[in-house]
């Protein structure tokens, strides 16, 4: 079963509580979670996703710069020909959700999201067997 997930914090943002809580919930749900730590560049995130051969990437950003940073991650994934689904979380205004989804981000978890819901959705996303080759 593919169950490796990358949890990454992009940009100049030290608020890692959310990412850590999600990482722990996913660990407890039986996933292998690779956590990059804070202040990662999109380049670092994508390089890590390649080396760790993850099946899913979770991005966290609470600085407000989620749109340009996440867009860069999506662009790099495309450049590298990596077909890995991406979800995100953080202080993301509801009005930004359609923009993020349009970039190709699968799910957006804003403040107040329940861990149960996140784990359920992650199971759905990772069940996507498009990259099994």
């Amino acid at each position: 079963m593919r169950r490796r997930i990358l949890i990454a914090k992009v940009g100049l943002d030290g608020h890692d509580r959310g990412a850590k809580v999600v990482a722990r919930a996913l660990k407890n749900a039986g996933f292998e979670v690779i956590y990059t730590g804070i202040r990662q560049s999109p380049e670092q995130v994508v390089a890590t996703a390649i080396q760790e051969d993850v099946s899913l990437i979770g991005l966290s950003c609470l600085s407000g710069a989620h749109i340009p940073l996440f867009r860069r991650v999506m662009e790099l994934l495309k450049e590298k020909n990596l077909d890995v689904p991406v979800f995100c979380g953080g202080t993301i205004p509801p009005s930004d959700v359609p923009i993020l989804k349009k970039m190709g981000i699968k799910e957006v978890f804003g403040p107040g999201s329940s861990l149960k819901e996140i784990v359920e959705k992650v199971k759905e996303m990772i069940g996507d067997d498009r990259y099994s080759s």
Binding site: K27, N28, A29, I34, T36, E43, T48, I50, Q51
Partner: protein
């Protein structure tokens, strides 16, 4: 498919390497196939193991070693082993955080693995994955193990050089005298040596380090975030690597012995479980009709007779 991936890996394709590592991790069949194909290939990569108790600074030290080795133009692969939960099967692979500055360095390949089979050492697949990485044209391969000190002896069998990382105030001289990993390390490091007690730990260690096969394991004091203190460690690693050949043969013997025993255990277990008497014996012991020593002796005799009859 394996052949295509191997060809790509030889040409330095990171994605192929990453994919094949996953396949090897998940499937013992793939692992065996890969090893049979690649084993005879000449490789230059030398394997260095960092082991030691949690929290002594192994990952931070590796980060410095990476920066020193890559600045000399070397290509380095890193395997980071963290434990997997025996309850949920999940794991949080967090060693990587300490060396993320190397994530985009084209000379560095870092991979985290979880390990459950043998939580105190390197899981079986790690040993095979190290072999695969050696094929990828890397000059050095560093493996960091879930180090709980005394039992992780198996690690030393698969590595050319084993570095045991300790820190000040970890225990008195009696701890240092215990058998186990303390006897298998090629280099000792007292990390966080800016803390009180480093000299005492060094003195305790010095009393117990012995010369083996022409090599006296050095003791090096480091401070993980201070690159200058890690330079002597890298020098010692290289010095040891240049001399390891005589002892490496012994290490391989140890590895084969472990593998043979593991395989034997597996076969014996299968054989035992298939034996019709086994369940009966289990019941007898569970109901206190027989003690387990007698039960196992009788079962062994019975099975021995059956095997002889089959022949």
């Amino acid at each position: 498919m394996i052949d295509t991936l191997l060809e790509k890996i030889r040409n330095g394709d990171e994605i192929a390497l990453s994919k094949l590592i996953t396949l090897m991790e998940e499937d013992e069949g793939v692992r065996k196939k890969v090893i049979k194909k690649i084993f005879a290939c000449p490789v230059k990569g030398r394997i260095i193991c960092f082991t030691g108790p949690p929290g002594v600074g192994k990952s931070t030290l590796i980060d410095q070693v990476l920066s020193i080795l890559t600045s000399e133009g070397n290509k380095v692969g890193v395997i980071l082993v963290d434990p997997r939960s025996p309850f949920t099967g999940g794991s949080l692979l967090g060693d990587r955080i300490r060396m993320q500055r190397h994530a985009t360095n084209p000379r560095v390949f870092i991979r985290s693995l979880s390990c459950a089979e043998n939580p105190e050492g390197v899981s079986r697949s790690v040993k095979d994955i190290l072999k695969l990485m050696a094929l990828a044209g890397l000059d050095y391969i560093i493996v960091e193990t879930v180090g709980t000190g005394q039992i992780a002896v198996e690690v030393s069998h698969i590595c050319h050089t084993t570095v045991l990382v300790l820190m000040p105030n970890m225990g008195d001289d009696i701890q240092m005298m215990k058998a186990g990993i303390l006897e298998t390390a090629d280099i000792y490091v007292i990390n966080k040596s800016d803390l009180n007690g480093a000299e005492l730990t060094e003195a305790y260690l010095k009393d117990n380090v012995e010369k083996r096969d022409g090599w006296t394991p050095p003791i090096i004091k480091t401070v993980g975030y201070n690159r200058a203190t890690v330079v002597p460690l890298v020098e010692k690693i290289k010095e040891h690597l240049s001399k390891e050949s005589c002892r490496y043969r012994e290490k391989v013997k140890g590895l084969l012995t472990t593998m043979f025993m593991d395989h034997l255990d597996e076969l014996a277990l299968k054989f035992l479980k298939n034996n019709p008497h086994f369940e009966k014996v289990v019941d007898e012991v569970a109901e206190c009709k027989k003690d387990y020593y007698t039960a196992i002796e009788e079962l062994f005799e019975k099975m021995k007779k059956e095997v002889l009859k089959d022949d």
